[in-house]
């Protein structure tokens, strides 16, 4: 109970200060009175008695002070005093306060924003129990048969029969799930929209230990025979967005691709599937694959169709090494039966059977978004850390200068008996207040930054989910950073400020003619390091900016201006190839008749969307290992696409030899193809390829008819500016036996944006259940594909500008300080006949020297540091001389700007006033 009393008493002292004080006063006075009376009885007079008591027992005030500081609450009390005093002092110098708070807010805010992105993309685990037990299965090595891949060059794709075998025989897992993201059409009241669906195995939710928000989730009984599990689970976000969280959708049918699926449940809030960045709208059993995402090369039965990613939860206590070792004997026989089906032989057989089954960490889910984002984020985090250091150096310099300006005040207080520790505490409180204000402002700033970034993200891109989310991790990060920077920039200046030689300080300071107080070397070091750090940040930003420019100016081989694009997926509505072909021809003709359309064409796969189709091709007369294909390994992979007539003229790809496809190339006419220059060189080096034949497929597995090469076109890039030129083969879509998706490209006379509405209504007329996807300018599509690079470049340039600004402010501060200190000296020099030019040299010389030293150190550091940026660059090397020269020039400009005002002030010094001031 004494704790309670202690607490109560202390609180009373805090909050009823006056009353407690009065009581204490009364008690002490009584004490002293009685003591004095005792003395008076001994014969002293009243005054003598009181004096004697004071001497013996201590003065009233001193006693009160001792008693007050005895309780625990005195700490808070003095701190409250400190805060009030600090607020007053900060209020007296608004310039200093606002610059400090702003500097800190910018430094910490930038860091918090970047960290938030990094946290969401790289650090967060899947929101499921024990994510450390989850692993992604991968089998790197040669791909044969039909392989689909989004990452890892197809190593993470398995066939459905293979998955089932592994699930049955692999005992190392407590659960093995499969999940594949597809796009489907969902028909609502009067419109059909595209939606993202995850095709999942029956044990998907059980293995991940996810709970339903409503209804039930899938069980193994939802994965029986192909085409029979017509059920669906909604994701929470889709349920709230599309159905307003209406619980009555349970057990009602949802029409997906024309098929009614019964909605059995809703997944719990916050569950977003296995890939961060793209929340699926629906979960559908994998047995519905043929209906949801029809593709003849991705069937449920064929062991040579590899399209299904697999993840597993290891049993508790099982290590990765042990699991991998136990999986090999199970995997080998499965590989062998696949190889037999693929009719592999010789080296191909050996290499295929050598494929291992490995487990990659799955705690962050499948790393689709992370693959491209990891390095840029790390680079940005380093840069933003450097900017924070510069900001701290600025603040330290400001505080040191301020401490110097207050030297007299501090000296007086020290002389009056203030303890040094107490003064330091008080100075630190000031810095802490600045830090708190800066920290609060930084959170607002970070939020604003994230909003800006989120707004710039192209729609449908994976990063869409990364809105401003100031969750607690990020908040703790910001707070921790604020405290760390406070200690970093405030402590040393506070110590210095209170370590005074009292005598000389209290004497008249005006007669100080010598150069530089004890603080100047410190500030010089700060400036030099600021300039050096700025140089590093400038170099990085310069290289990244040039990379972006190079990317944007890369010749893609396609004329992207004034082309409109859109895609449709008629196969999702159950249309057959024949129907789709008829639809495609009809749409093409009708669009071609629009006013202002120069040409229109169709491609099966959309360009610049990262949708790659790769296969083996066998040129005419090819005999394996006979030397008529380039070594090594007889690489016969090429990318391919099915296109319509006038594709090359619409896309602006020059025809080198032969002809384009025409209406005459139909399903019944002879099989033809067009290849690009790279393919011609690769397969037919030297010979004229026109008239020769190519066959789709290699080995004895696929017996496709040979196609006559009727044209050669110039090389173009398929995925985007960074992609390499690869062998490419084009076939007419009329000769595609399994036409499914269509991408339309329309080249117009004038600005095509006005055509968007007419296009939509045309498609609507031709097929009311067909959603129009990705309707935009081709230029915009290209631009979207460079989003990562653009974001990195923009952010790093912003950081570089911020760094330069801070360094300039710091340099300005030091020079202004130097000029102010040496005003008398300058006055004397002018008075005795010195040239103004000498003064100029004095100030600029100081600034220039500091900048040069900083620049040299910085360039050297940058040369080392740019190595880590090398992977992000395009068209520039990490040691690009032009960029580094640019950095030097920029630093010169920055330091010149910083020098300007102090120099002018120095030149304008009036010797009379300077000498008069004492």
């Amino acid at each position: 109970m004494s704790l309670l009393r202690n607490l109560a008493s202390g609180l009373r002292s805090l909050f009823r200060k006056e009353q407690v004080d009065r009581e204490l006063d009364e008690e002490l006075r009584a004490y002293h009175e009685m003591a004095a009376e005792a003395k008076m009885q001994d014969g002293l007079t009243r005054t003598e008695a009181l004096r004697a008591v004071r001497l013996e027992r201590g003065t009233l005030e001193a006693t009160k002070e001792i008693i007050r500081s005895g309780g625990w609450e005195s700490f808070f009390d003095t701190w409250r005093q400190d805060i009030r005093f600090a607020l007053r002092m900060l209020g007296k110098s608004p310039g200093f306060t606002s610059v400090s708070v702003l500097t800190l807010a910018l430094g910490i805010g930038a860091n918090t924003a970047i960290f938030s992105l990094t946290d969401q993309i790289l650090l967060r685990n899947l929101p499921v129990p024990h994510p450390g037990q989850l692993f992604v299965l991968r089998s790197p090595g040669p791909n044969h048969g039909h392989t689909w891949g989004d990452v890892d060059q197809g190593a993470q794709s398995f066939s459905y029969p293979m998955y089932k075998d592994l699930r049955e025989w692999a005992t190392v897992f407590s659960g093995l799930l499969a999940c594949r993201r597809v796009t489907v059409n969902v028909s609502g009241h009067d419109e059909t929209q595209a939606a993202h669906a995850d095709l999942v195995s029956g044990n998907f939710f059980d293995t991940l230990e996810v709970q339903p928000e409503l209804g039930r989730l899938f069980t193994p009984s939802d994965e029986t025979a192909p085409g029979t599990n017509a059920v669906a689970v909604l994701s929470y976000s889709y349920w709230s967005r599309q159905f307003g969280s209406d619980p009555s959708i349970l057990d009602k049918p949802l029409t997906v691709n024309g098929i009614p699926l019964t909605v059995v449940g809703v997944a719990r809030k916050g569950f977003y599937g296995l890939e961060i960045g793209l929340t699926p709208d629906l979960f559908i059993p994998v047995t519905m694959k043929a209906q949801m995402a029809p593709n003849p090369n991705q069937t449920l039965e064929d062991r040579t169709d590899r399209w299904l990613p697999v993840m597993g939860r290891l049993k508790p206590g099982m290590t990765v090494a042990r699991a991998q070792a136990e999986l090999q004997p199970i995997y080998q026989p499965l590989l062998e039966s696949d190889a037999k089906l693929l009719r592999l032989s010789g080296d191909d057989w050996k290499r295929y059977l050598a494929k291992p089954l490995l487990l990659a960490g799955g705690a962050h889910g499948r790393l689709v978004l992370q693959e491209g984002a990891e390095e840029p984020l790390l680079v940005l985090m380093s840069m933003v850390g450097l900017v924070l250091l510069i900001a701290c150096a600025n603040l330290a310099g400001l505080l040191v200068a301020r401490g110097e300006a207050r030297q007299r005040e501090i000296a007086v207080r020290l002389t009056m008996g203030a303890k040094r520790a107490r003064l330091i505490r008080q100075l630190l409180t000031e810095s802490l207040l600045i830090a708190v204000a800066g920290g609060v402002a930084s959170i607002a700033l970070a939020g604003w930054c994230l909003n800006a970034i989120a707004a710039a993200i192209p729609p449908g891109d994976g990063m869409g989910v990364l809105a401003n989310s100031l969750d607690f991790r990020v908040l703790w990060f910001a707070i921790g950073l604020t405290l760390a920077t406070t200690i970093l920039f405030a402590f040393a200046p506070a110590m210095r400020a209170t370590r005074l030689d009292l005598q000389s300080t209290l004497k008249d300071q005006g007669s100080d003619v010598s150069v530089g107080g004890s603080n100047l070397p410190l500030r010089k070091v700060l400036i030099v390091s600021q300039v050096a750090l700025t140089a590093v940040v400038l170099a990085g930003a310069g290289l990244l900016a040039r990379t972006l420019v190079n990317l944007e100016q890369t010749d893609l081989g396609v004329k992207t201006s004034r082309v409109l694009q859109f895609s449709v997926a008629p196969d999702l509505n159950g249309s057959t190839s024949v129907q789709i072909l008829a639809f495609a021809d009809r749409a093409r003709n009708e669009i071609g008749a629009f006013p202002g359309v120069r040409s229109v064409s169709i491609s099966s796969a959309p360009i610049f969307e990262g949708d790659d189709y790769v296969s083996n091709f066998t040129p005419e007369g090819y005999v394996p290992h006979s030397g008529n294909l380039p070594e090594p390994g007889d690489d016969s992979d090429a990318m391919y696409d099915y296109i319509g007539p006038n594709y090359f003229s619409t896309m602006g790809i020059p025809l080198i030899a032969g002809r384009e496809f025409t209406e005459a190339d139909s399903a019944a006419s002879p099989k033809v193809c067009v290849i690009n220059q790279k393919m011609a060189e690769h397969f037919f080096a030297g010979r004229n390829p026109l008239g020769l034949h190519m066959t789709h497929g290699a080995g004895k597995l696929y017996a496709n008819p040979p196609m006559e090469i009727v044209g050669v076109v110039a090389n173009s890039k398929w995925d985007g500016a960074r992609s390499d030129i690869v062998p490419f083969l084009y076939m007419p879509y009329s000769q595609d036996a399994h036409l499914g998706h269509l991408a339309f490209y329309i080249r117009t006379e004038r600005e095509p944006a006005s055509m968007a509405a007419s296009l939509r209504s045309l498609i609507q007329r031709l097929d009311p259940n067909l959603p129009v996807n990705n309707l935009r300018m081709l230029e915009e599509q290209v631009s979207n594909s460079m989003f990562n690079d653009r974001m990195v470049a923009v952010l790093s340039v912003s950081l570089a500008l911020l760094a330069a600004l801070l360094a300039a402010l710091g340099l300005y501060g030091v020079l202004a300080y130097v000029v102010a200190r040496r005003t008398r000296e300058i006055g004397i020099r002018i008075a005795v006949g010195g040239e103004r030019a000498d003064i100029l040299r004095l100030v600029v010389g100081q600034g220039g020297r500091l900048t040069v030293v900083g620049a040299v150190i910085g360039i050297a550091a940058a040369l080392v540091a740019m190595r880590w940026v090398a992977n992000l660059l395009y068209g520039v090397t990490a040691h690009d001389p032009l960029t580094f020269v640019g950095v030097v020039v920029l630093l010169a400009i920055v330091s010149g700007a910083a020098c300007y005002i102090p120099t002018r002030r120095a030149m304008r010094v009036d010797p009379i006033t300077a000498l008069r001031y004492e």
């Binding site: 009393r5 008493s9 004490y31 009685m34 003591a35 201590g58 001792i66």
Partner: protein, 110 residues
């Protein structure tokens, strides 16, 4: 004369105050006088230490204070031992005796 009495260790002064109040309850000046008397002038607590000790003992619940009219009709705060204080005093006294005996033995050892 000023600071000789502050040689008293903090805890010891607490104990002496408790003992003083065990005999009879009195106001702060009275405690100081009594301690001086009983120690025959060896200990003369100064106001600061004394009041600190009283505050501590109050907060720990060992003594209770109450404003009363003093002998010369002046208001003064009178302190008295609580039950907890009485028990605490006994404990402290025993402990102190043990320590003092131990020190004496060490010092007398040859």
């Amino acid at each position: 004369m000023p600071d000789k009495s502050s040689d008293l260790v903090q805890g010891t002064l607490d104990m002496l105050v408790l003992k003083t109040l065990a005999l009879e309850s009195m106001h702060d000046y009275g405690i100081s006088v009594r301690i001086e008397q009983m120690s025959k002038g060896v200990f003369r607590p100064n106001a600061g230490s004394l009041f600190l000790a009283i505050q501590r003992l109050q907060r720990d619940g060992l003594i209770d204070g109450e404003w009363k009219a003093s002998d010369n009709s002046r208001r003064a705060k009178y302190y008295a031992l609580t039950e907890k204080g009485r028990k605490g005093l006994n404990k402290e006294t025993r402990e102190w005796g043990r320590q003092a005996a131990a020190i004496a033995r060490i010092l007398e050892a040859s």
